[in-house]
Symmetry: D2
Subunit: 337 residues, 4 copies
């Protein structure tokens, strides 16, 4: 961390600050220049409050140089994290396709799709039971009943299940869920993140539509600070001025996250683009860019999906996509499953 | 709502759709053109699922013309809503300044600031007890204890209190709070909104950093659909590429919201800009633009605030600001308090 | 400027860099820390190439602390610049309203509007002769003929004229124009800016839709580096995800620019919002926020304007707006004209 | 195009409008509903001025359904355009890598790099002679001399050359350039586009940092309306709130452009990310997503590049990248060269 001091900083103020920082275990180096005086903080500054330092009236700006996250930081954990979901591995060379419908609608629907996607190469089953909807008048999901149907589909196919939680009070209902998903709108629901940090269960954490990569890692840090280290990051599109796609899929987030963190990253080509016809190209691109997995919406009857129909591909399209993903994984040195 | 149909739409498909829409009470008008066939839906379409319609394979695009919100819509409620907070009125010509520190830190701090801002013209007291922080290592607020201190400051000064809730499970703690604030990061925490809709207590709903005005109104709709009509909207800056200010304050949201909705709107010049030195000009601008109130951070000792110090002004600066706000309210035909 | 060095930086590399910087007149201070080594550059670094320094393989990051602009910088020119347009002053307490139609359409139209807005308090006349249009099939302006009509309106009313240039090769045509406007899409047309820097004539420089405030000041610097110091900056809305307004008017740019630069800043409430019904509130807000002027579209017959009709107000609405602007200027200590 | 009319629209106004539209060759269908009256325009509406229609006081909103571009529209030109650059084909299955340094610096530099990248599989040589720089104090390119050096490198290697133009007045200097590049900042320099439309020479048109895909296609339309149909589109990153990469590369623009237009699209992984270490993954992703080419910065000595060093890869890294691109092209059914 670097503090640029104002011209009016007195020697006494500077001395006090240096003394206080030393008491927190942070060393300082002072550079007095013609236009600016700079105080370099060179120890472990992750516990320092940037806002507090900024508010000192003799400080002009504070620039953080070290990342403010620790558990999620590759510097302190150079090897890739491999998340183990009951034997199904994700990360560190293991690429997984998580597939399934937007919403769980019925027993027939979810078991049918589960069987289809399993046959075609999916390693996990997704399906929404609790659905975050912009409008209070839209279908809100089958909720607890949907969770039960997911478990039946798991029993039938052996696929571990991934489904979204919307409130910390629902955690008991998710006890038997394999991977708990935190949606984009809840990425900074810190009370929920803290509760999930107390579990010992993989969490799929989606990036918020307007959140930076660093904020995504800080939210992972909330979970990891509680002792739960099995976090899977998910890029699902950010909000920009472009309106042709629902959001703008930020694939450059893949190499950036790989550099900053050891956590695996999966891509959601369905919600990011919002159109099934763009899912194929973005899936291949994600695999080529180094992702550790995909989360794809597949629906047997896109015409009658209760929500988010336009972005779901058919089992047939899914079946044609997987071999090309495999071929690309071969080039980048990863393996499906 | 308008559906643009694809060239390949069969007459049978169109007939079925029209029949189905009629069963939902929606009339249709069909326009068959050289390049496009258009189906206009002209009844009450707020219950229709746009996504479902988009997913029909003979539909090219769906364009919504009527707003999807009802309770918050000025069309169905032409007069301004005036929120009554134990006799303190906000909206419909009554302008209120909500002032106080970022975080409640101690009894002395909160009662001192409460007295100061009351003397200078504030109508409500703000102060954070539960604090949403990007980092798990930053100060998280005094939580329940902070709420108690706020109530003591209210007892001392008579100012109603405004403070943020972070999770639906905390609602019982907020029973005696006058206005419950929903922060920007929770604007689409729909489970929380639904619970707040069951209360009969004013809610200050902040716009998310990446949320459109329509989404803000849809989140208000969540609360109002539950029967709680006392919603105050708050613009606090949106996320853009500009980094000189923390966020970009969208003051044009004021006339837009006034056109679309009858709900009052207040502006947060502190969090939006992130710097105390921009609070004065943005406060005056908000009053001139037609806002119904301001929520301003005031701290007796900005040098030692436990969080968000850089954006807090001193009681002295606050005291100099209020008369100029009053003078502007006079021009735009509003009254302080 | 601060360089954070990589762990692998050798002493020889560091010594060479320090020597080279010294040869450019830049002093350095080295801070060797546990995790990072920091090199502070504390002289005049505006001539240094940030990209070049970043590319050195032992440099981790480069952080600029001093602003890269000089002529536009308030640090080196503390007093407000007052632009003098043939006796009409703009800046430093002198507030000007620039009003007129989007496009010059006919002699009758432009002289009629010129007379109207002059009577109501406008100090300068605007009108587009060369029109930047997104579509090649849209009306492109009367071009040279439009300039002649503007001059006739000036002759009739005495109002100085402001009009947009689109290409450096047109400069000879603009010899007798009082203020040359550079549109948002040309803000980084550097060849044009260089040519305008050779003139001794006021330039109204509009901020690009996706340009930061610093980039706006760098473009002003291009003009000023050529010796033309009469630059008026104009905020006209930036591009964000919000679609209800055409762009998002960034009024917080006013206090930011005032802090960084001595140049005057005017606000365009017409193009930024894109709707005439939002012009009034944004004009009052701009005056309250400390702007030095407004550029407002006024059209006698908004129903038949050849372009940008929806954002033009009528002379009647303009006439009702000016007294309220005056009243607000009184509060913030400025004067109209 | 669809016009939603206001409640207050009189029958006479509507009749007049319908008559006027008919005179322009546009048919209409009127749908009178309970809440809204809708006028559907179903002929060729690309010549209609949306703004003019919006400005009619009995029109509430105008919604365009048909794209406003013709020459660039796939609907009227279903087959992929293949641009022929003196025998080198780009588009329609022919994938090209355009490689070379950011700036042309010397004869040795440019011929050395040209030979290297040719050996490794590049089909065209890029190099900046005229350089758009944010700061007037930064290196502005060798200009005319740089063009001569590029031609010498072409003579030596046979690679066609691609280089950027910054002003219409420079066109004569570019007579012997194979592909003229229009930079992101000039994407809406309409005077320049019109002049380039008069040439019969391939134009590489880069998307502006804040421009939508539709605006990119409208700028292509400017060139094509002049009769020059050899336009290559280039996505090079858009401006978002994320700051870890210089811009956010929008790879979903590839399938979107492919759907809307027949023009080829190339990706710039260097400028978009701003860091050489992200070039590899984004190049592979672009090939997988269906791009027709790449434009990559390669520098023999990134440590001493005069500009944009951090984003240039070495010939060695380039050499390792090409075989993997080839392998991916094989999967998606394209061919290098």
């Amino acid at each position: 961390m670097i503090l640029v001091l104002k011209d009016n900083a007195s020697q006494a103020q500077i001395d006090n600050l240096i003394k206080w920082l030393k008491s927190l275990g942070v060393d300082t180096h002072l550079s007095v220049g013609r236009y600016q005086t700079i105080l370099g903080l060179v120890g472990d500054t992750s516990g320092l409050d940037e806002d507090l330092l900024s508010s000192l009236d003799f400080v002009e700006t504070v620039k953080r140089i070290q990342e403010p996250f620790k558990n999620a930081n590759r510097k302190f954990h150079p090897d890739d994290t491999v998340v183990d979901i009951g034997g199904t591995k994700l990360g560190g060379g293991h690429f997984q396709i998580i597939a399934g419908p937007c919403s769980v609608e019925s027993r027939e629907q979810i078991t049918y799709i589960a069987r289809e996607v399993k046959n075609d190469g999916a390693g996990l089953l997704r399906g929404g039971a609790f659905k975050p909807r912009t409008s209070p008048y839209a279908f809100q999901g089958l909720r607890a009943e949907g969770l039960e149907l997911l478990k039946e589909a798991r029993k039938e196919t052996g696929l571990p299940i991934v489904t979204e939680i919307m409130d910390a009070s629902h955690i008991p209902l998710f006890e038997d869920v394999d991977v708990i998903q935190v949606g984009a709108r809840n990425m900074q629901n810190f009370e929920l993140l803290k509760e999930l940090g107390k579990l010992r269960k993989p969490i799929l954490l989606k990036r918020g539509m307007a959140n930076t990569i660093q904020e995504l890692l800080m939210s992972a840090e909330y979970i990891m600070a509680g002792g739960n280290e099995q976090v899977i990051l998910c890029e699902r599109g950010i909000r920009t001025f472009e309106t042709y796609t629902r959001n703008t899929l930020d694939l450059s987030a893949i190499p950036v996250i790989k550099e900053l963190s050891h956590l695996p990253v999966v891509i959601d080509p369905s919600h990011s683009t919002g159109h099934s016809r763009f899912v194929r190209s973005m899936s291949l691109a994600a695999a080529a860019a180094g992702a550790d997995g995909l989360i794809i919406e597949v629906h047997n009857d896109p015409q009658h999906a209760l929500c988010d129909g336009p972005q779901s591909i058919t089992p047939d399209a899914f079946s044609k996509l997987v071999p090309d993903i495999k071929a690309i994984l071969d080039i980048v040195g990863k393996e499906l499953g």
